[in-house]
Symmetry: C2
Subunit: 500 residues, 2 copies
Amino acid sequence: MTLEQARKDLKTLQAKLSAYRHALGLISYDGSTAAPKQTASNRAHSMPILSEAVYQLTTGPETVALLEFLDENRAALTEKERRQVFLLLKDLRFHASIPLDEFLAYRRLLVESDDVWHRAKPANDFASFAPYLEKIFDAKKRFASYAAPDKDPYDFWLNEYEAGLNTAVCDRFFAAVRSGVVPLLKAVMEAEPVSDACILGDFPEKEQEELARSLMDFIGLDRGHVGLSATEHPFTTSLGSHFDTRITTHIYRENVSYSLFSVVHEGGHALYETGGADDLAYTVLDGGVSMSIHESQSRFYENYIARSLPFVRAVFPKIRELFPQQMRGVSPEQFWAAVNKAQPTLIRTKADELTYSLHVMVRYELEKRVMAGDLAVRDLPAAWNALYKEYLGIDVPDDTRGVLQDSHWGGGMVGYFPSYALGSAYGAQFMARMKETVDVDACLERGDLSPVNAWNREHIWQYGKLYPPQELLERVLGGPFDPGYYIRYLEEKYRKLCRL
Amino acid sequence: MTLEQARKDLKTLQAKLSAYRHALGLISYDGSTAAPKQTASNRAHSMPILSEAVYQLTTGPETVALLEFLDENRAALTEKERRQVFLLLKDLRFHASIPLDEFLAYRRLLVESDDVWHRAKPANDFASFAPYLEKIFDAKKRFASYAAPDKDPYDFWLNEYEAGLNTAVCDRFFAAVRSGVVPLLKAVMEAEPVSDACILGDFPEKEQEELARSLMDFIGLDRGHVGLSATEHPFTTSLGSHFDTRITTHIYRENVSYSLFSVVHEGGHALYETGGADDLAYTVLDGGVSMSIHESQSRFYENYIARSLPFVRAVFPKIRELFPQQMRGVSPEQFWAAVNKAQPTLIRTKADELTYSLHVMVRYELEKRVMAGDLAVRDLPAAWNALYKEYLGIDVPDDTRGVLQDSHWGGGMVGYFPSYALGSAYGAQFMARMKETVDVDACLERGDLSPVNAWNREHIWQYGKLYPPQELLERVLGGPFDPGYYIRYLEEKYRKLCRL
């Protein structure tokens, strides 16, 4: 094998992978958007066949030989090629460490588990789901011990979702959240309640759709490359490359704010994806580097940009134009207050900015304890309810709205939750850093986000997966991550809003 | 290789092919429906990679060995397996007959040609397109001579799109069309004009969408398995198997009939696809057997069912409910007359039921002459215009609305056009046959198409590609195809409509 040929083959391999991922991503996206209701079994036929082809491509003997050859010659590679080889080898070595029969059994387990969870959740039947969840946690521990025998299993999975992350970092972060947010929420609940009456009422779909499109334009999304669809749960996905990105929303007629902030949130993900350098397309470096960094961008636009008073002032004329009856007599300041109202609730995905991290903290503490063997799966519901009482001050009436609410654990995603909260906290520190050189409020007031987007593109988006997340973070911040920015931001905001 | 293993491998091969075709079909469908406007280059990255995988699967050495082994042992196979092996081998042998470099050059030619055609058509610039078209006709002749040296090249391609079809059959058919339809059209044009005022006006999208969905239900489509989307040009596609079929329509606010009949036309295709026996799914026997048979079903529902007076009477209450202003004072009979108005026009895809076959006949005669070497590509525009004058009695003002209007020739589809007209004619004879045992008018009047659909399912749909089209035709008809049914149907209908 010559180096020249091997570099070509590396490119071809990644081009093929991106085509298969285009296909798989689109079949899944189609299933959530346009596909007729009774066609799931048809997708269940095609997706394993295409996934199997991806598995062959990423782990087959030719690929092993190619990547090992390139790794031996890494000094002769470009920075981007080295990172491509590193990421492909990492994936390969992880799969090589797990006996194939155990891996296949695990994949079957996840399919069954997902099915059982879908029935257990509405039936409030944790007992039927528990045996599957036990097996999943067992597999996560076992796979971690195969791949990294010397590492704490939970640390292994934290690091898988966010390279560089570990329990020590998370513990420090959540300790700051606990000591900052829990008393702040208590103070907010004792203050005079904020009214959200102006965002509730009847807001027809057609006008909400127009609002969604105008928000996409407003935050600077290129609608030639970013599509919008309706789904049960909003998400963002890129198909084949960052040249084709889709966001989705869910419109609730009775609440104008849900889709509004959902579009900006997913729009933040899409800005990150589509902001990658063009030459990352069709390589494994294309797309966001980790869930935390992704959430840092989505929550940056959703919370730090769109829930700010200057932004609300800038878009309010459009809202008033679309909903003249509903907005009669409403001021931008009232609208701003309404969309920032905070209160403890049961469901994470519907939580407000202030309480969101508390929901995540509950999940972090529980999965950490289960992974350490300090908590049995069967005891999860009681522990869940106790922490909701402790952190959010509310009673969980059933497991449907408690421990069964999320699909993550049943889908094998253990160690994933912390990134949701970390992303918010990264975003707060990014904003502080950005404000050193960009007058963000002035940009928002004149309705021009391009300096904001240019900063994010220069410091974050363009790199795709080139730098590991913790390295990227340090580059952007010029120093270590400090959760204090996030806590102070929340304190200032809610002190002002609730006149504490 | 054991027979048992080979039969398993045959099944696996077809399952894989269906998954890749699911992916390719969906990427293409997405490009016409949900994809953002500037993402074509992204699909152009992925589709050749997945197509290449299909090519490897269908022509690779393992597949050759498998199919030849099964072909040698065909006596031990089921009827369905024999047909699967036959169809896969046919495809394989065709590709094996063409030198790979010529095949790849041809694929590149088609990409270029399509691009040139897209620019030449609006620019009314046939001269820029002619060199590509010459090369395409040359390639079609050459490939036919490789694959079937003893056969007339045009006959070869007719037979490729419709096994059993040849110039002799087409000549007989079009002679009947010429002698029947040309004078009938002349008489219609001399009669008192039919008014189509009631279908023109302003028909908002939302109500037309509801009409489309109610028509889907009315003709018996299962919307759990058949989706509806909006596209520039309507089409039908099945994704992965007949368990997931999509139809599309194009709504024109100013004309209520376009989308109405488009939905029923595509709905006919979708009834055929989804009516296949379940065990055809994920094999090469799934889906319609040929373009002619497919058109026989789409035009059956569009013309023989939906443009009939009993059908119009049955759906008219729904139309009046959705468009009370526009339908004020309009009777079902007037609506029926309006949607059957015939007149010579320039564009095939917008032609009415009476003139449609004349448009096709022009194309048939021209491509036959070019393939025989009797007409040079550069002389196509003049010959086109002369035939439009002769058959339709109209002058073609430019090539944009003349010889450049269709994408087929530039896309390498030579020998394909006749099936559009043959399908209509098959449909007329199917209807006559069906009426021997089913009281179709009574079904339409009481709004119950299930006996009609059951007949089509029993005689046509369930078989997928199991029988070659001409054999299927003879089975359904219990005798040879006779274009007289079609001509007599048109004569009766237009005599009644125009009081000739």
